[in-house]
C-alpha cells in the first residue's frame, strides 16, 4: 500500500522524500507555481504554490508530503491570494506583454490568465532596471525578472558556472551577473546552458528567436498553463 495525501478531496499517492508539489504534479494535479521547476531544488520564494495543509498555509513546493495530509488547493480564497501575488509581480517589474517577445510562451502571463487576472490592480512602480544585451547570443532584460532564482540554480547546479546571483532586498533586489564588468558578455555563459532555458518569464532569453513563432502556435495559445505543466494539454 502506497502512502497518500488528499488534495481537494482527491486521493494522491506519494513516495518518501516527495513534496506536496511533487506528488501533485505526478498525479496531474495542478498547483500554480512560478519559482518551482521539478528539475531543480525547491526555492520557496514566490509563494504562489501556497496551499492549506491541515488548516495552515504552507508552500507546497517545499513542504514534504506525509501520510494523510489534508490539502486544499483550488479554492476561491487561495486563488484570490495567488492572483494578488501575481498582480504584485506585474507592478513590481515592467511587464509589457503586448510587445514582449515571450508573450504566449511566458509562465507569468499564463499563470495570470489561469488565475483570471483582469488588470494589475495595484499602481505600477515602473522601476528603472537594466537591460544587458552584451552577450552575442543571450539577452538579459531585468525589467521582466521576478527573482525566482531559477537561472541562479541552473547555472550553479546544472551548468557548474555560477553566472547569476541575487543581491539586495525588497524593491532593491537585483539579479547580478558574476563577472568583473557585471556584464553577461564577459561571462562563460553559453547559449546552450541550462540557465538560459529555465527562465519562466522573458527576462533571460536566447537572441534571434523573437516572434519567430507566429501567434496561434505558441505554447499557451491553445493550452492553459495547468494543462501544459501537468502534461494534460499535449495531444
Amino acid at each position: 500500500m502506497s502512502k497518500t495525501i488528499t488534495i481537494d478531496g482527491l486521493t494522491v499517492p506519494f513516495r518518501d522524500g516527495q513534496t506536496i508539489m511533487d506528488a501533485a504534479l505526478a498525479s496531474g494535479v495542478y498547483i500554480p507555481h512560478l519559482c518551482h521547476n521539478p528539475e531543480f531544488k525547491p526555492h520557496g520564494s514566490c509563494k504562489l504554490c501556497t496551499v492549506n495543509v491541515n488548516g495552515r498555509n504552507a508552500a507546497s513546493c517545499t513542504m514534504p508530503a506525509t501520510e494523510g495530509l489534508q490539502v486544499l488547493n483550488d479554492t476561491a480564497e487561495l486563488n484570490d491570494e495567488r492572483r494578488a501575488l501575481v498582480q504584485m509581480l506585474f507592478v513590481e517589474g515592467n511587464h509589457l506583454c503586448p510587445s514582449c517577445e515571450k508573450s504566449g510562451n511566458c509562465q507569468l502571463q499564463a499563470v495570470a490568465y489561469y488565475l483570471e487576472m483582469m488588470s494589475p490592480h495595484y499602481n505600477h512602480f515602473y522601476p528603472t532596471r537594466e537591460v544587458d544585451a552584451s552577450h552575442p547570443g543571450i539577452l538579459l532584460d531585468r525589467n521582466r525578472c521576478i527573482y525566482c532564482e531559477l537561472c541562479v540554480r541552473a547555472s550553479r547546479d546544472a551548468d557548474g558556472k555560477n553566472v547569476f546571483g541575487l543581491t539586495g532586498r525588497g524593491m532593491a533586489t537585483t539579479l547580478i551577473v558574476n563577472s568583473a564588468s557585471g556584464r553577461l558578455g564577459d561571462t562563460t555563459l553559453a547559449v546552450t546552458d541550462k540557465a538560459v532555458q529555465v527562465c519562466p518569464t522573458g527576462a533571460l532569453m536566447k537572441k534571434g528567436l523573437a516572434y519567430t513563432v507566429p501567434i496561434g502556435r505558441r505554447i499557451f495559445d491553445h493550452h492553459s498553463i495547468k494543462d501544459v505543466q501537468t502534461g494534460g494539454g499535449h495531444e
Partner: protein, 493 residues
C-alpha cells in the same frame, strides 16, 4: 504658398474660437480661430499633439522588439508601423527579403490599406459627402448612412472586414499581430487560408469599383463646389516604383511642385534627410516638414492618396489605372490640387488594393517556406513605405549591443501638417469669415481636415460620435459662448 492667417497681426482684442475634439489614442487635435467683432477670421491654426515620448520610450530596447512595439502608436494602421519598422530592421540585419516574405508583407500591407481606406470612406467621410456638410448633425454619421443607404454601409463593413482578415491571416491577429519580423515574416499562408481569401476577392473588387463610381458621382454632381472647397496648391511627395508605377510598399521618393514639375525623383529613402527637413513651431507639438531645396515657405507638401495618384506615372492594376486616367483628365491633365479630391484618389487606391490582393493570391510564393534572411549587419536602419495616409518614415540607430539609441519617425499626418493648416485657413476664409458660427459651419473645417484622413479623425468621428466643444473666448480669456456637441451628435449649450 504663403503663411497668410497663420499668425494674426494684432491678436489683442480678437475672439478666440477653439474646436477641440476629444480624442483617444491617436493624438489630440484642435483648431483655434481668432475672430474680430464682425466675425472676420484673423488667424486659424490646426494643432496636434501626437507620438510624444515614443521615440524616447524605445531607447534602450532591443531592435527586434520595435516592429511590435511601434504598432501601439496607432490602433488604425498598426500594420503600417509594423512594416515600416520591419523594413528598417531588414537593413539592420542586412536582409534581402525572400520572395515569400516580400509578397506576404505586400499582401498584409494591401489588406491594411484596403481596410483603412474603407473605414475612412464609409464610416468617416461618407456622412458628409452623402448628406452635405451642414446637414442635420444627428444623422450625419455612419448610423445615418446605414439607415439611408443600407447597401453602401454594408459594403463598407464587408470591405473593412476583408482587409482585417488578410491582416489576421498574415500577422496572427486582426490588430497588433506579429507577422513581419526583422528580415522577413514568421508565417506564410496555408492553402486553405489562401483559398478562403480568394473566395471573396472578386466581390471586393466589384464593391471597390462601386465606391469609385459613388465618389465620382458625388464629386461630379457639383464639380465646382468640390474643386473649390478648401482649395490651394502645393507640392506632392510619395514613393514610386522604379518604373514610375504606384507602389505602396516600396520605391524611391518623388516630389513634384505645385505645377507638376519634378523637384526630385527616385531618391533613395535611406538618405531622406538630405531632402526633407523638419521645422519646429512654438504653437504646435507636431513638426512641419518641408523639402530642403525649396525652403520652408515654398517647400511644404502633401502626402497620401492624392499625392500618390497625382505623382505616379501609372497604376499597375488595370481597373484602377483606368480610373486614374479619368481622374487625371478631370483635373485637366496636371496634378489635381483639390482638397476633396483626396476622397476620390483614396477610392482609386482601394480598388488598386483589391486588384493587387487578387493578383498576389494567385502567386504560389505566398505558400512558400523561406521566411527570413540575414546578411551583413548595420547599426542604422531606415524603413519607408506608403501608409494609408501617406509616406511613413522610420529611422533607427542601434549600438553594438543591438539596443536602440535613437529613433526618428515622420508619420503621414506630420507631412500633411502645413497642408491641413492651409485647408483650414481656406475654409475659414471661404465659409466662416463674417458669419455667425454654427455647428454646420464648424463642420466645414472638420470636413477639410478629414479629407486628409489624419489619424485623429477616427477618434473624433467614431460611429455616430463626435464629442466636440467649441468655445468663444474674448481677449480677456473669458468664455463668452460655448457650443458643445455630445456623443449622439446633438448640439447643446
Amino acid at each position: 504658398m504663403t503663411f497668410e492667417l497663420e499668425t494674426a497681426a494684432n491678436p489683442q482684442g480678437l475672439k478666440r474660437v477653439v474646436i477641440e475634439p476629444v480624442s483617444r489614442v491617436e493624438g489630440h487635435g484642435k483648431v483655434t480661430l481668432l475672430l474680430d467683432d464682425d466675425n472676420r477670421v484673423h488667424q486659424a491654426r490646426f494643432h496636434i499633439v501626437e507620438f510624444r515620448g515614443f521615440e524616447k520610450f524605445i531607447q534602450g530596447r532591443p531592435f527586434w522588439e520595435v516592429p511590435v512595439i511601434v504598432q501601439r502608436l496607432c490602433g488604425i494602421c498598426p500594420v503600417s508601423h509594423n512594416l515600416a519598422a520591419s523594413k528598417a530592421m531588414d537593413m539592420i540585419v542586412g536582409a534581402q527579403l525572400t520572395p515569400t516574405a516580400e509578397k506576404l508583407r505586400r499582401l498584409m500591407h494591401l489588406g491594411q490599406v484596403l481596410q483603412s481606406h474603407a473605414l475612412h470612406f464609409y464610416y468617416l467621410a461618407s456622412p458628409d459627402l452623402l448628406f452635405g456638410f451642414d446637414s442635420e448633425a444627428a444623422k450625419r454619421n455612419i448610423v445615418g448612412v446605414a439607415a439611408a443607404y443600407p447597401d453602401i454601409a454594408r459594403q463598407g463593413v464587408a470591405l473593412r472586414k476583408y482587409g482585417q482578415e488578410i491582416i489576421r491571416l498574415t500577422s496572427g491577429k486582426r490588430v497588433h499581430g506579429t507577422g513581419a519580423v526583422p528580415g522577413g515574416v514568421n508565417k506564410s499562408l496555408s492553402l486553405e487560408e489562401r483559398d478562403y481569401l480568394l473566395k471573396d476577392v472578386e466581390q471586393m473588387i466589384a464593391w471597390s469599383r462601386e465606391a469609385v463610381e459613388l465618389i465620382k458621382k458625388v464629386y461630379g454632381d457639383r464639380p465646382d463646389f468640390h474643386n473649390g472647397f478648401g482649395y490651394f496648391r502645393s507640392c506632392f511627395m510619395s514613393l514610386v516604383r522604379e518604373d514610375g508605377a504606384l507602389d505602396l510598399y516600396h520605391g524611391g521618393l518623388r516630389a513634384r511642385d505645385e505645377h507638376g514639375q519634378s523637384i526630385f525623383d527616385h531618391v533613395d529613402y535611406r538618405q531622406y534627410w538630405d531632402y526633407i527637413h523638419e521645422e519646429v513651431r512654438s504653437w504646435s507639438y507636431m513638426k512641419f516638414p518641408f523639402i530642403r531645396s525649396r525652403g520652408r515657405e515654398e517647400g511644404w507638401y502633401r502626402v497620401g492618396p492624392l499625392a500618390r495618384v497625382n505623382n505616379c506615372d501609372f497604376i499597375p492594376t488595370p481597373l484602377a489605372e483606368a480610373e486614374r486616367k479619368i481622374f487625371k483628365a478631370f483635373g485637366g491633365g496636371g496634378a489635381t490640387q483639390a482638397t476633396l479630391a483626396y476622397h476620390w484618389a483614396r477610392m482609386i487606391e482601394m480598388l488598386h488594393c483589391a486588384e493587387g490582393i487578387q493578383e498576389l493570391l494567385h502567386d504560389d510564393d505566398l505558400l512558400g517556406s523561406e521566411l527570413v534572411s540575414q546578411g551583413e549587419r548595420s547599426l542604422r536602419g531606415v524603413g519607408v513605405l506608403e501608409a494609408p495616409r501617406g509616406t511613413l518614415i522610420h529611422h533607427y540607430r542601434i549600438d553594438e549591443d543591438e539596443l536602440i539609441v535613437r529613433a526618428n519617425l515622420i508619420v503621414s499626418t506630420t507631412h500633411n501638417n502645413q497642408a491641413m493648416n492651409e485647408a483650414v485657413r481656406q475654409v475659414a476664409l471661404q465659409y466662416l469669415d463674417g458669419q455667425q458660427l454654427t455647428e454646420g459651419l464648424l463642420n466645414h473645417i472638420e470636413v477639410a481636415i478629414r479629407a486628409f484622413d489624419p489619424c485623429l479623425s477616427c477618434a473624433t468621428h467614431a460611429v455616430g460620435k463626435m464629442p466636440l466643444e467649441v468655445e468663444l473666448v474674448d481677449a480677456g480669456g473669458n468664455v463668452i459662448d460655448r457650443l458643445a456637441k455630445n456623443s449622439d451628435g446633438q448640439c447643446g449649450a
